[in-house]
């Protein structure tokens, strides 16, 4: 890879983050709030993309990692009285632990079996949340009061419920995970993951420990998704079992496929696309699911590799 292309790639990503930063000052209230949410969920999608897009492991259970972060931080606040930073770290810890366990077990399988095993583990996590409803509030969930969502760093304190603070916090998380992803996929580790995706047998024969690499990918992916979950709890103040349902396992898959799997910017584009199609369709008609369905089918008919997948193929071949 040449110096020029490295500069071009980093330039593009910095520009994307800069545009998103500028939007903080430009977006009207509703879209400002929606963008904050989309940035957090796009982080979830990026975590998913790392495993699915680059390592080629299709999981149908990533809602459990998001939920691990969500509940890890949420319960730490409501039951243990943690502060914002400690709660966020607790959420990350839960995500890391869960993804390590799930990875060790589920990576014994591959292909469709991996898909089903992850789905079942996620189902087990959902049922666990429901079963311990005395603490989790079950499907009704928990509210994190405004007072518990104030971030104090040194002497300064930031109210995470203030729109601008929330947006910038979401953007910071998004940017960190975006550049981490970029660094990972451009690293030797990232290239091994792609090699595993393309041909696991050959990669093993070349002397790589494919299991260890895949496990690392599962854990990193799980931690990214947990970070999104923890941020969701802290920024939006709601923790509910719906986020652990199979719907939230399918959504990141959908976002990634719509935006373009194995592209660094695909997840955010896909999340934006699906969110806005839904939002606009639902203000025109109560039959908005129909419009979303048709939009998805048209999307795959004309861009089967997702939006950025098509862009990369036709115009910008160097897109990471």
């Amino acid at each position: 890879m040449t110096e020029a292309s490295t500069a071009r790639i980093y330039g593009l990503h910095i520009a994307v983050v800069a545009v998103l930063f500028a939007l903080n000052f430009l977006l009207p209230d509703y879209h400002h709030g929606l963008f904050a949410r989309i940035l957090v969920l796009a982080t979830f999608a990026m975590g998913y993309n790392l495993l699915f897009g680059y390592a080629g492991l299709l999981s149908l259970g990533h809602a459990m990692f998001f939920a691990a972060g969500l509940y890890g931080s949420g319960l730490a606040i409501t039951n243990l009285g943690f502060g914002v930073v400690a709660a966020f770290i607790a959420g990350l810890g839960c995500g890391a632990l869960l993804s390590l366990i799930v990875g060790l077990l589920a990576l014994r399988t591959s292909g469709v079996a991996f898909m089903i095993v992850t789905m079942m583990f996620a189902q087990a996590v959902l049922l666990t949340i429901v079963y311990f409803n005395q603490w989790t509030g079950g499907d009704q969930g928990l509210v994190l009061q405004q007072a518990s969502r104030i971030l104090t760093v040194g002497g300064a304190s930031f109210d995470l419920t203030a729109p601008a603070v929330r947006y910038l916090a979401a953007l910071a998380l998004f940017a960190i995970v975006l550049f981490l992803t970029l660094a990972i996929v451009r690293s030797r580790f990232g290239r091994v993951l792609v090699a595993i995706r393309e041909n696991e047998e050959r990669t093993r024969m070349l002397g790589y420990d494919t299991f260890a690499n895949k496990l690392a990918a599962v854990v990193l992916s799980g931690v990214f998704c947990a970070a999104a979950g923890a941020a969701y709890a802290l920024l939006f103040g709601y923790v509910g079992s719906n986020f652990a349902s199979v719907q939230y396992s399918i959504l990141p898959l959908l976002w990634v496929l719509a935006g373009g799997a194995a592209t660094t910017l695909g997840p955010v584009i896909g999340t934006l696309f699906i969110y806005y199609v839904t939002d606009i369709a639902s203000s025109y008609t109560s039959a908005w699911l129909l419009i979303v369905g048709v939009a998805l089918i048209l999307l795959v008919l004309f861009a089967p590799k997702g939006i950025l997948g098509a862009v990369r193929k036709r115009w910008i071949g160097w897109l990471p």
Binding site: F25, L26, L27, P28, D29, Y30, H31, G33, L34, R37, L127, V130, Y131, N133, G137, G138, D139, Q140, G141, L142, V143, L144, Q145, Q146, T161, F236, G237, Y238, G240, N242, F243, Y276, D279, I280, S282, S283, Y284, S286, W288, L289
Partner: protein, 434 residues
């Protein structure tokens, strides 16, 4: 819509990518312009915009449809009588898909994009709990018609009210003495293992104990279960009465399987009609319920002693004597709950008039005016009956009905007093800042 609103309303007309971008740029200029106040020119005749967070899709859709119809009927009646402070009501509907996360987005969309004065109308408690933080942060009053104990528990915030329907804790507390006296002393509870079920699980046992009866088993059915027979052996044989609350489409299966299991020799049944809202009580498979009793918020079937107000309300909403749509006898209403929409809108009207509400700048005044309410008299505005309102916990309390199913109709056999359902308040929202 004027100024800022039009530029940004992506949903308004065919917004191409370019016009959106142009809109964003123009908006940046506007937002930066000092003294930009959208409501400055609000005229006294401009409508009051009420955002309606509706369950149009998702599991709550059957309820949502009737909540919309009742809302439309109430708004028509209020507007015909001169509106609120002389201003007509305009309802802006957004679908939340009965999803907690989308619910929060919808509250923000109604508040920031549609620029509504207040948000109203939510039923499912996960959506209420999921949306409440957003309503609190945006400082927009949020009137729910959900019956969950979430509002009164103090878990939400000062902007959330439930002034039109009694909460489940009070409902359960008020029917418990009747159950103990008439259905049996040993009660087995079957309830969904989610939010709605928890209120029953937590508050029925103490209320029954106080009335000299006891809960001998609690069977919590996990969400998504579609077959129940395998859990029936967990019902102790000493059970006198089964207390059942099953929400969702599986209720018909539940009743049918119970009938197959017990035949004619089973325990007595007491149920919450929530299970059978929007379901024809004479559906095949429901025969087993004949002779059993139900809680009803407002009776589905017209009763012999219905007040004039009740008759007028039923006519306005468009339901016949069997509680089905006048136009389609198969389209059964959610009568036991939807009256709450009607009554809540009248509470909003009363509070807005008390507050001298003129626009979003008066939202804090509106909250305080709502909190100051204490009592709603029975009448055209409150056809279900008199209510007491506790401004500290933002919750109202009313009469509950116990109906017997016989001859294919539900007949009210007992009406609880308001005091039967009262409990010691556990919260005080008025201490929170506005």
């Amino acid at each position: 819509m004027t100024g800022k609103g039009r530029f940004f309303d992506l949903t308004n007309g065919k917004a191409s990518r370019r016009t959106v971008l142009k809109g964003l740029a123009a908006g940046a200029g506007l937002a930066a312009a000092p003294g930009f106040v959208r409501y400055a020119q609000a005229q006294s005749s401009a409508p009051i915009k009420i955002g309606f967070q509706a369950h149009r899709t998702g599991i709550g859709a059957a309820y949502g449809r009737w909540y919309e119809r009742t809302t439309a009927a109430a708004v028509k009646a209020i507007n015909a009588a001169g509106g609120i402070n002389g201003r007509p009501i305009e309802i802006v509907v957004e679908d939340d898909g009965t999803d907690a996360a989308r619910g929060a987005e919808v509250v923000a969309k109604l508040a920031n994009q549609h620029k509504v004065d207040i948000v109203y109308g939510t039923l499912f408690s996960n959506v209420v709990v999921g949306s409440a933080p957003t309503a609190g942060e945006l400082k927009i009053p949020y009137y729910v018609v959900s019956e969950g104990y979430h509002v009164a528990s103090g878990k939400l915030n000062r902007y959330v009210f439930q002034p039109g329907i009694t909460d489940v804790r009070a409902q359960v507390t008020s029917v418990a003495p009747w159950i103990a006296a008439n259905a049996g002393k040993k009660v087995t509870m079957i309830f969904p293992d989610y939010a709605f079920g928890y209120d029953h699980r937590d508050y029925l046992p103490p209320a029954l104990q106080k009335a000299g009866a006891e809960v001998v088993a609690k069977i919590a059915i996990p969400p998504t279960e579609s077959s129940f027979t395998k859990y029936f052996p967990q019902i102790p044989s000493e059970t006198d009465a089964i207390y059942h609350v099953m929400v969702g489409p599986a209720v018909l299966t539940f009743v049918k399987e119970l009938g197959d299991f017990y035949g004619s020799s089973g325990p007595k049944l007491f149920g919450f009609i929530d299970s059978l809202e929007a379901v024809d009580i004479n559906s095949p498979g429901l025969e087993y319920l004949d002779g059993s009793h139900f809680w009803e918020g407002s009776p589905r079937y017209a009763q012999a002693d219905d007040t004039e107000a009740q008759k007028a309300y039923r006519a306005a909403v468009g339901i016949d004597d069997n509680g089905a749509a006048v136009a389609d006898a198969k389209d059964v209403s959610t009568a036991a709950h939807m009256f709450g929409c009607w009554e809540t809108l009248y509470v909003i009207k009363k509070a807005m008039e008390d507050a001298g509400y003129t626009g979003p700048g008066d939202r804090a005044k509106l909250v305080e005016a709502t909190e100051a309410l204490t009592e709603f008299a029975e009448g055209p505005e409150h056809p279900q009956g008199k209510k007491l309102f506790n401004g500290k916990i933002h919750q109202c309390f009313g009469h509950q009905n116990i109906s017997k199913l016989e001859g294919g109709k539900l007949k009210v056999v007992h009406k609880t007093t308001i005091e039967d359902g009262m409990y010691e308040p556990e919260a005080d929202y008025t201490k929170q800042s506005l």
